[in-house]
Symmetry: C3
């Protein structure tokens, strides 16, 4: 089968086909096996990844950096690109030309929506969006759906609930569009009124025939949910800290919440969490954020890199 | 012989046995040979080290980063982890779960005492304490004792003098406990009254039968010393800068001091130094801080990493 | 032929012979071929490069980091060495001893002129000056001349024009001395009076018989120029921001300028640019800054590293 991901930018889940997602997930399965037995492989020997993080990051940065080296490739580590050429007033276009030349692909995090899309226009090599402000974070969505499908190989007939800051949370923007490929029966969107999912994403999903409900009361929907996906209210997105304080712990998943969930429901979170999920349920077998999402992040990113960089 | 260090955390010298120290030193000898002839080896191919430095560092950071690559492994370089997930309010437990998942071991520096111990509880992979505030710095002590033993294969009958800030200096805390395994006859502790070695460490050593003397006058003990170990008074540990200014150059090793030392006495310092040792004695054959401690740091850290990561 | 660059410091173009420059350029040609077919080689397996950047950098930093890994070596990445040992008050000599010990060569950027020269005195391994304040930047000059010679294999009979901040621009200081080896007929120096090329460099070049003209009017010389090399007026070098604002866009290369240039003239810039060259001429075949200088930077740095580190 032809690898249609070769050379492709990963900017939004909107442009990932179901076949491509499947090939990423199959490759992730293979790479998990390789990492667990040998630690690394040589697939990307001779390739260099530029980790161009304008916003400092730990989790996503570390998983890409590790993934690239476990594939045999090298790294240009740039975590928190501030006082450099950019500060000297260089245009994004010039910056991208440079990194595009020194490395074979650019993984980019930036505080402004759409910057990776612009970067991809300038770069010959593939660009991976590792988070653009309140925009998207497609590899997070890929690891999320990968994690979900290891529990629900078919999503048909299931109910997925996204809860938290659905306005600013880039992971849920990417996730809802990727979920659309797998047509669960229903998606519940639970958020304060101020933090509702942007209409464009809702419309995108509804077009596929998935039923979408919006509410601000979590307890209305938990008992019928198969996948409960919680997100952080992101302090850095609020200009008024009082509004943040009022909303930040509107939804907290506790032991009581877990009692309402079905036995095979899975609980997920993109991390970092700052109080949305009580740590005393981390040991619950349904809690996947630490035990499954985190390690899957590396396997899925290895899969993405190996497919976009190698025919 | 069984490698009892495999998978073990290196948090404090308190938990390192004499057999383990010996196996580290033997391995360091072998790796020195390999580095000097070939530069690197493949022992840790497929392994990834996370260098998780909350306080920026140059020496320790660089030696671990180099050590890991000379062993064939990869790195997740995080030097000065500030504005990231941690700043977003994530718990240490969540942070550690993440890095424990992406890398095979965590080398951690943190401004607060005890953080590495907590991290080790959360991590499945081994954790190496690369300095926790005024607590410990066990790999520094290992390289120090390794350096000493290349000059004094047996420490029995010798006198070791530690001078400087013995209260806040984490390297001397780790060192005095590791020295206890090798039972020198006497340990002199020379410091201003305000900066004396914490009582728990003194008591620990005395239990082994080593005679411990405390004084604030260096000249009283230099002439009978075999190992003179000087340390920096650490500005960053003082809330009152005036106290720091008064104490910082209380002990300065000069040419005059060297005249008082025996011919085969060795002079050591963990570095960085800021005036405790006059640079005009760097060429003295007894001055080991630059010529021996620094390179030994890499060999000993290579030894530690290879033993904790490979059966 | 003997590799006279083995073990040599690259601090200034003043000390590079024409034979050495030629061997760097030949090696760059070979490595370009290798990178384009295989991505990397194993020439420097077992070697470690310390990228010791006191001033944060993106372009130069990334090109060295990538170059070293494409040669099979490892890296100690230190980009923006502030709050570390240096801040603790350590001397440069001690710092250099440390990195000289952990890695096989030091690539150093520092805000003060002459720091690399000092570092090279202390280091046993080779030191590469990657920019010392307003001093020099020899690998930039090497990549510039490499780029020029791919268009003008012999520079005899040609006219080279350097325009912009010739006082503070370290790249033009290194470049003019390296150009002297290839004896173009004439070098035009175009700058505001306040930003003229320091007299020592002018004298250096004149001694070789090259005719040097100084002017503050670019249009006087463009039509007879074969190589037009533009530079940024560097804001960070001005104490009075008003002077900077007055001078920064004194020379801007636009479509109109391009009309005045000969058909086979080449236009170069060390980057980053902040308005000196209008982006709408990037597609002009004579504009080499993005298309040729940037990628050549990596090949030439690979060549330099491979020659200084391997017999």
């Amino acid at each position: 089968m032809k690898n249609t991901l070769f050379g492709k930018d990963i900017l939004s889940t909107r442009n990932i086909t179901k076949d491509e997602a499947s090939s990423i997930f199959r490759r992730a399965d293979e790479l998990r096996e390789i990492v667990q037995t040998k630690g690394s492989t040589d697939i990307l020997r001779g390739k260099i990844l530029t980790a161009l993080f304008y916003e400092p990051s730990s989790r996503t940065y570390a998983s890409f950096i590790s993934a690239m080296q476990r594939l045999g490739g090298g790294i240009i580590p740039l975590n928190g690109m501030t006082n450099t050429s950019v500060a000297k007033g260089e245009t994004l276009e010039d910056t991208i030309h440079v990194f595009d030349s020194y490395g074979d692909c650019i993984v980019m995090r930036h505080p402004e929506v759409g910057t990776s899309v612009k970067a991809a226009v300038y770069a010959k090599g593939p660009v991976v969006n590792a988070g653009d402000g309140t925009g998207e974070h497609p590899t997070q969505a890929l690891l999320d759906v990968y994690t979900i499908r290891r529990h629900f190989p078919s999503l048909q007939g299931t109910t997925v609930t996204l809860v938290g800051d659905l306005l600013n949370g880039r992971t849920v923007h990417s996730l809802i569009m990727l979920l659309a490929l797998y047509t669960p029966s229903r998606i519940n969107l639970v958020s304060p009124n101020e933090l509702r999912m942007p209409e464009e994403y809702v419309a995108y999903v509804q077009k596929t025939g998935i039923r979408v409900s919006q509410t601000d009361i979590l307890n209305d929907v938990v008992s019928t949910t198969d996948v409960l996906y919680a997100t952080r209210v992101q302090k850095e997105r609020f200009s008024d800290v009082k509004v943040y304080e009022r909303l930040k712990h509107r939804y907290v998943i506790t032991r009581d919440t877990m009692k309402l969930l079905k036995k095979d429901t899975i609980l997920m979170h993109p991390l970092p969490r700052v109080g949305e999920i009580s740590p005393d349920i981390d040991g619950d077998p349904r809690a996947l954020y630490l035990r499954e999402q985190v390690p899957n992040g590396m396997y899925v990113r290895m899969a993405v890199l190996s497919l976009i960089l190698k025919k």
